[in-house]
């Protein structure tokens, strides 16, 4: 009887003759690489250089949309993350997101648009001039950071695809590949992670299509290679590692709303007056290297972006639409 493990695919199995002659093969490979030694080491250096250059992003500082608060350190912003695709603990993403493959990467924009398109990362990042914006990031859990992001307003991309008059919402669909993302084995939320905005929220210039952080391309744990940042909403609204953007006429059922509808609403605007069922949202703990025994700071309405976004919600009861 032959035992077959269904998880092992035939393409993963080393062919018998390769296995039997593996020592010989290694010898051939070694001699070959010695011969090619000089050229390959040159190539290696060239590669390292371009990779280094590509890590830096040229972005123009946008003063209007930047806060003056003290920045969170790069170390804290890249080691204290919620990115459940890589595990539930705050240090899991930094530890496990290395397995995320960010090139090639394409993102498709579809649904209720005149010109649906699929665009690869290198073209997408050139679609508009990159800006640097220092935004506050307020997590629903009660902590906040101040992070310089690099990217451009999402509206630059949305204008390219020409939303139809019937489009009312924008849905963000993120990558869900169990081979790259160990956290998908847990069933806390339904994968892929889905987020959404109303179209006018998505078209607000503050909504930022983001490729970098602190002038460098996004580290994997921060949602590489492309994410959005919506600074007046709780952090989980800012979907990471986006593969698809879909315009619809129905309010998207976002992942967290589906998991715990009483706790996480579709809007999830930062609002000190509306408590989370299990904790108050009136204060937050700022992560910026201050003394650890400092008291919490007051959370601002719309995270301090009231002047730019309050008009989106005129006449709405924000207790009901939390």
């Amino acid at each position: 009887m032959i035992f077959k493990d269904p998880r092992i695919k035939s393409r993963d199995i080393t062919p018998q003759d390769v296995f039997a002659h593996r020592r010989k093969l290694l010898k051939i490979l070694t001699v070959g690489s010695l011969a090619a030694g000089l050229s390959s080491s040159l190539q290696y250096e060239a590669f390292a250089l371009t990779e280094n250059n590509q890590k830096k992003l040229k972005a123009k500082y946008n003063q209007k949309y930047s806060v003056k608060d003290k920045h969170t350190s790069f170390k804290d912003a890249t080691n204290y993350n919620n990115f459940y695709e890589f595990g539930m603990d705050k240090d899991d993403p930094a530890r496990y997101a290395k397995s995320l493959i960010t090139r090639p990467w394409t993102i498709s924009i579809e649904g209720l648009v005149q010109k649906p398109m699929t665009i690869d990362f290198d073209s997408l990042i050139k679609l508009s001039a990159l800006e640097e914006r220092v935004y506050r990031m307020r997590c629903v859990e009660g902590w906040s950071m101040v992070i310089p992001w690099n990217g451009f307003s999402l509206l630059n991309l949305l204008n390219k695809v020409e939303p139809l008059g019937t489009a009312k919402y924008v849905e963000f669909i993120t990558l869900a590949d169990p081979k790259q993302m160990p956290g998908l084995s847990s069933s806390i939320i339904a994968w892929p992670y889905l987020e959404g905005l109303r179209l006018d929220e998505a078209m607000n210039p503050l909504t930022f299509l983001t490729f970098g952080i602190y002038g460098e391309i996004l580290p994997n744990q921060n949602g590489a290679p492309v994410r959005i940042v919506v600074p007046w909403k709780y952090g989980f609204k800012s979907a990471k590692s986006i593969v698809k953007i879909r315009l619809t006429d129905q309010e998207p059922i976002t992942s967290w709303h589906r998991t715990a509808p009483m706790e996480y609403g579709f809007y999830s605007n930062v609002n000190p007056n509306v408590s989370h069922p299990r904790w108050s949202q009136s204060t937050e703990r700022r992560i910026d290297g201050r003394n650890i025994f400092s008291s919490k700071i007051k959370t601002e309405m719309f995270n301090g972006y009231e002047e730019y976004v309050a008009q989106l919600y005129t006449g709405m009861d924000l207790r009901k639409f939390y």
Binding site: D91, I292, F293, S295
Partner: protein, 196 residues
């Protein structure tokens, strides 16, 4: 082994979780959100010491050595000690020692209420853990200290509710399983069964 020596060893071991926090603090390794880390760490150690306290009587029944029970007081006081740190950090750094703000949080949020009630009862047990209180209370002392079972149940609910949003119950299940086994084992006919 000399029980006084064992008690001293347990006392030193019991301080290790606190020492660890100081070392991590000194190394700047308390994560990006140190207060949350300290609050959670002291909370977890409270429930760990609670489990250890509850394990002493069953260990006596199983092994037949009565000395286990003599460690109960030290372990119980460590439970209170870490619970006290857990509560104080939250009261101080989440509520700026504002009593009304703290109480209104307790009233509004059942998850916090469970922890708070457990802490209040635990304080009573800690205060009455000395010989004088024992003598004064007489027969009532034993009854009062049976409230540890209620504390254990409240602590489990508190932990469960805390983790509810993320639905990450793995660790909670381990503690719940441990506590319920330790309570279950006290049911008279099961106790009779395991007693040496």
């Amino acid at each position: 082994m000399n029980i006084i020596l064992v008690k001293r060893i347990v006392f030193v071991l019991g301080l290790i979780p606190l020492l660890r926090l100081f070392i991590l603090g000194y190394l700047g390794d308390l994560t990006a959100n140190p207060i949350e880390f300290i609050t959670r760490s002291t909370g977890t150690w409270t429930i760990t010491f609670l489990c250890m306290t509850l394990a002493m009587s069953p260990l006596r029944w199983i092994t037949g050595f009565s000395q286990w029970v003599q460690l109960r007081k030290t372990l119980g006081l460590f439970t209170f000690f870490y619970g006290f740190l857990h509560f104080t950090i939250w009261y101080w750094l989440d509520h700026n020692l504002n009593f009304l703000a703290m109480i209104s949080d307790v009233i509004k949020r059942p998850f916090i209420a469970m922890g708070f009630i457990a802490f209040v009862i635990m304080s009573l047990l800690a205060i009455t853990s000395n010989q004088t209180a024992m003598r004064l209370l007489g027969g009532k002392w034993k009854m009062l200290h049976r409230f540890i079972y209620l504390i254990a149940i409240l602590a489990v609910i508190h932990y469960f509710w805390h983790k509810e949003g993320k639905r990450d119950f793995t660790v909670v299940y381990i503690y719940t399983g441990t506590i319920f086994s330790l309570l279950f084992i006290r049911i008279p006919w099961i106790k009779r069964f395991i007693k040496k």
